[in-house]
Amino acid sequence: MFGPLWALLSQDLRLAIRHGGESLMPLMFLFSVIILVPLGVGPGPNLLSAIAPGMIWVAALLSSLLALERLFRPDFEDGSLEQWWLGHLPVYGLVVVRLFSHWLITGLPIILFAPIAAEMLFLHPDALGTLMISLMLGTPILSLVGGLAAALTLSTNRGSVLLSILVFPLIVPVLVFATGAVSVAAEGISPQTHLGLLAAMLVLALTLVPLAVASALRLNIE
C-alpha cells in the first residue's frame, strides 16, 4: 500500500542529492539576503533587530519560490507524471508525498538554519522559539500554495512570472501572521493568537490544496 509513496519519496530525495547545488539554492539565497541586508541598511543592532522577523520571513518566502518551477515540470516533460494515473494509489497521496519532499528540501533546511540567521540580524533571544514555530507552521503552507501555483502553470511555457503572481496574494496572510507572531514575541507579548491562526491556515491548506493540485495536474496532462 505504502510502497509507491515510499518509492516516490526516496526517488525525489535521491534526485535532490544528485542535483546537489540546485537543491541548496533556496538556502544559499536565504543567507545571501541575510548577509546583504546589514550591508544595505547599516549594521546597527537596534534597526536590524526591528526588521529581523520581516527580513527572515520574506527571504524564506522568496527562497521557497525558487524551487517551485521544478516541482512538477521535470516529471511533466519526461512523461513520468502520466504514470501517476496508472498506479495503484489515488493521485492525492502522490501529490502529498511530492509536496512533502519539496518541503524537506526547501523548508526544513531554512528552519534548521534559522537560529544562525536570527543571530546575524540580532533578533531578540526571546523571539527565537516563536520564529522557529512560525517557520515550522508556515513553510509547509509555502510549499502547498506554491505547489498549487506550479501545478496550474505547468503547461504554460516558462510560467515563472505567472507563478509568482499567483502565489503572492495567497501567501500574504501567512507572512502577516508569522512576522506578527515573531514581533510580538520580541516585545514580550504572547504570540499564541498569531500562531493559532497560522496553524489553522496550515490545516486548511493541508486538507484542501492536495486535492486542488491533483485536479490541476490532471487538467494539464489531458
Binding site: 510502497g3 509507491p4 515510499w6 518509492a7 516516490l8 526517488q11 535521491r14 534526485l15 544528485r18 542535483h19 516533460e77 519526461d78 512523461g79 513520468s80 502520466e82 504514470q83 494515473w85 496508472l86 498506479g87 495503484h88 496532462i221 489531458e222
Partner: protein, 182 residues
C-alpha cells in the same frame, strides 16, 4: 480527434492501431490507459495497465537499475528483477550507467525493460518501434509474443514496421484528422 470507436479486446489478443500522423493514435492509447477521459462513452477495464509512450518516464539523472527499481516499487512488484529485465532487452551490464548516457535506441530498450519489471497484464505501446534498429524491432516482437502467450494483452500504434507475430492482430485504422473550419 475521433469518434464512434467500439471494440473489445480479450486476453491474449493484439490490437494494432494504424493511421497517418495526427490521426489520434497516441490520444486513443492515452485514453485506453486512463490518462485522458473520453468526452463521451465509456471504457471498461478490470486490469491495471502499463503505458509506454514517446516519453518513457525515465529519470536521466538515475542509473538504469535505479530507474527500474523505482518502477518496480511504484507499479507493483513482478518476479522479474531489474538486472534480468536489462539482460532481456540487450542492456546486460548497463545497470550502473546513468540513463542520460544512453543513446535514443538504448533508452527505448530501457523503456521496454520497465514494462517487464512492472507486473501489468495490459501493455499500451505508442510507436514501440521508433528509433530501434532491426534487432531492436525483433526484440519488441519477441516480447509481445511472450506477453500474449502468458495471457497478456497488447495494444500498439505503429506506422513504420508491422509486428511480426504468429496470430492475426485486430486492426484499427484511424483516418486523417481534418481541421474543422471555424
Amino acid at each position: 480527434m475521433f469518434d464512434d470507436i467500439s471494440l473489445r479486446l480479450d486476453a491474449g489478443r493484439l490490437l494494432l492501431i494504424l493511421g497517418p500522423n495526427g490521426s489520434g493514435k497516441t490520444t486513443l492509447l492515452r485514453c485506453l490507459a486512463g490518462v485522458i477521459r473520453p468526452i463521451k462513452g465509456e471504457l471498461t477495464c478490470a486490469e491495471r495497465r502499463a503505458f509506454l509512450g514517446h516519453r518513457t518516464g525515465l529519470k536521466a539523472a538515475l542509473s538504469c537499475r535505479e530507474n527500474l527499481g523505482f518502477i518496480q516499487s511504484f507499479h507493483g512488484r513482478s518476479r522479474v528483477r531489474p538486472d534480468q529485465a536489462l539482460a532481456r532487452v540487450g542492456l546486460a551490464g548497463f545497470g550502473l550507467r546513468l540513463a542520460s548516457t544512453l543513446s535514443a535506441g538504448q533508452t527505448r530498450r530501457l523503456g521496454l525493460a520497465s514494462l517487464l519489471v512492472s507486473e501489468r497484464r495490459i501493455w499500451l505501446l505508442d510507436e514501440p518501434y521508433a528509433s530501434l534498429d532491426d534487432e531492436g524491432g525483433a526484440l519488441v516482437d519477441t516480447l509481445i509474443v511472450d506477453h500474449l502467450e502468458g495471457g497478456g494483452t497488447v495494444a500498439l500504434s505503429t506506422h513504420q514496421r508491422m509486428p511480426d507475430i504468429g496470430a492475426e492482430p485486430i486492426r484499427l485504422h484511424l483516418c486523417a484528422n481534418r481541421p474543422e473550419n471555424h
